[in-house]
Symmetry: C2
Subunit: 339 residues, 2 copies
């Protein structure tokens, strides 16, 4: 049987579809005099001899049919196809270990969000998934509970983040690994700075025995995705803006729970209703609450800053509180299945 996608269970109907696709190799025919109307079946026949990977066999067969149908439907011509393959080549060529232009292309076409929704269907009561994005960096430093994930002098407004990690029955999750990353107050990730050596505005910490976590950072702001490459050029041609609303990324890991990749979006942020990569979900919208509780600041080691409110200078900081709910690896499969 074909291997199932790793993150959800497939139905018997789907398994049957895969077997049928494999059997299309029975249609093998000489590759000769192919026309607009008969080429697809022949190309599929030629690509129907994968012996050790039925899932690949299924995907390539389906891809050939879908791509050919699309090309026939729109009547794509030689000059247009030349533009497409040159564009895709340039997307690959500008990519590096820290710049994933192909992901960006996938993001702005809603493909990443769709794949994400398929792989991580919403489980009632649990925190929803959101896009990983291209800026996760596993080299982030570990911090103790209450420490700051931003270095001294990071531009941005001081923020205390606190919350809990729980399971879907409300039990605290001890020693969950929280991997968090964000932009600084300029809307820039550490890896986007040429002269920064080492991770910043990101960190890893563990929840305590009550499932609690807390750390300080800066309040994230909206920012434009990289738009100096082919994807930026495409967005311009499509008359689209480049911006994501302010958000903070999280991955939460624990051996007994499904990996959670998500982000918290700032409810009053500009672009909250027009995220250029289609990642925002209502359940992931959060409020940053202004507080002048300097005792709390001292307790958590947050450095308050000054801000003019109604003409009066005030000293305080932002407080973000959020509880994450994980799905257990042993929770019923029916919860996690879409098919």
């Amino acid at each position: 049987m074909p291997p199932a996608p790793t993150t959800f269970t497939v139905s018997e109907a789907t398994r049957k579809k895969w077997s049928e696709a494999v059997n299309e190799q029975a249609n093998a025919a000489p590759v000769l005099d192919l026309t607009v109307d008969n080429i697809t079946e022949n190309v599929i026949a030629v690509n129907s001899n994968v012996t050790d990977n039925p899932r690949l066999q299924y995907l390539i067969t389906k891809f050939i049919r879908a791509s050919h149908d699309f090309i026939r439907d729109v009547g794509l011509n030689f000059e247009e196809w030349e533009q497409v393959w040159k564009f895709l080549t340039s997307v690959g060529q500008i990519s590096t270990d820290v710049r994933h232009e192909m992901v960006l292309l996938s993001d702005i076409l809603g493909i990443s969000a769709l794949v994400d929704s398929i792989s991580h269907p919403a489980v009632p009561g649990a925190t929803e998934y959101s896009l990983l994005g291209p800026f996760h960096d596993d080299r982030a430093h570990f911090v103790e509970l209450g420490e700051s994930i931003t270095s001294e002098g990071t531009p941005g407004e001081a923020t205390l983040v606190r919350g809990t990690i729980k399971d879907i029955n409300g039990n605290p999750v001890n020693k969950a690994l929280i991997d968090v990353w964000e932009t600084d107050g300029n809307g820039t990730y550490d890896v986007e700075y040429i002269d920064k050596d080492g991770p910043d505005f990101r960190g890893k910490l563990y929840s305590d025995k009550n499932g609690a976590f807390y750390f300080s950072c800066v309040r994230p702001v909206p920012y434009p995705i990289a738009n100096d490459g082919p994807v930026g050029a495409l967005l311009r041609k499509l008359n689209r803006h480049f911006f994501r609303p302010a958000h903070m990324h999280f991955i939460i890991l624990h051996p007994s729970y499904d990996k959670l990749i998500t982000a918290l979006y700032t409810r009053d942020s500009k672009y909250i209703h027009s995220d250029t990569v289609f990642g925002v979900k209502s359940s992931l919208m959060v409020d940053y609450v202004w507080t002048e509780d300097l005792k709390l600041a001292e307790q958590y080691g947050v450095k308050p800053f000054k801000r003019v409110l109604d003409g009066v200078e005030k000293e305080g900081f932002w407080l973000l509180e959020h509880d994450f709910v994980l799905v257990g690896k042993r929770d019923p499969v029916s919860l996690k299945t879409r098919d």
Copy 2:
């Protein structure tokens, strides 16, 4: 109205489809809480504001729908998509000015052949089109009628090519530019040799007032497409071979006729029925005829070679004769229309 594809005329029905696609922008909606089932309409709405290029508007709209439908249909998951975008990135990264890996990918999936068939529908009585391939080089030297397009010492068996260029009414085409390229007898193009400076096994020449042309060269042989990159790795996974049957490429140009991009395939070549890029057409199959007519060799400046036939050494060369038929720019549009 949207600009029509450059090489054929579209019907009113197609024009109407384009207009409707543009109007989908009326569906614009907030980008929030997108699910597997509602994401496509929303992504299309966001991409429906192209103001100056209705064809791009149509293509992007159709592409979003087709790609999303494919992903939903196969249940593509996060890990699989990661493999796909990393693969596409590597296809771009290995590409250079003379190595077009994205074209190769398009070729082995039958996409190039399909786009070619759409752009160049067969016209009764005229020579059929075939794939351009990645090895055309506009820097080819001009040669006089009867000269060789291969340099002294090129590996391979001496061949005389002669034929005519005519229109669909049988009239000769004077001063048609014939741009021809092939591999040497090792199955290698000039640009694939690291130490070759300048074009070889390729040339440009003009037909005479009778439409006639003739040149000498070497007989082409089957060869494997570049398979040291990601496309080669994919072909291995698909259990496919890498070979094209022996063929000689031609572009024929004349101001009064449609540009003809084609190739002549050797009828008795290995892989003639399994061309890995799906280019072979019966009407483009040709025979290389062995001749020991040394007077003809002298007349055309061909250097005969020795070959053992039925245990006896013979001296001779190969003769390839073919007539090309061009479609006039003023020939009825109905001939060139598929839609």
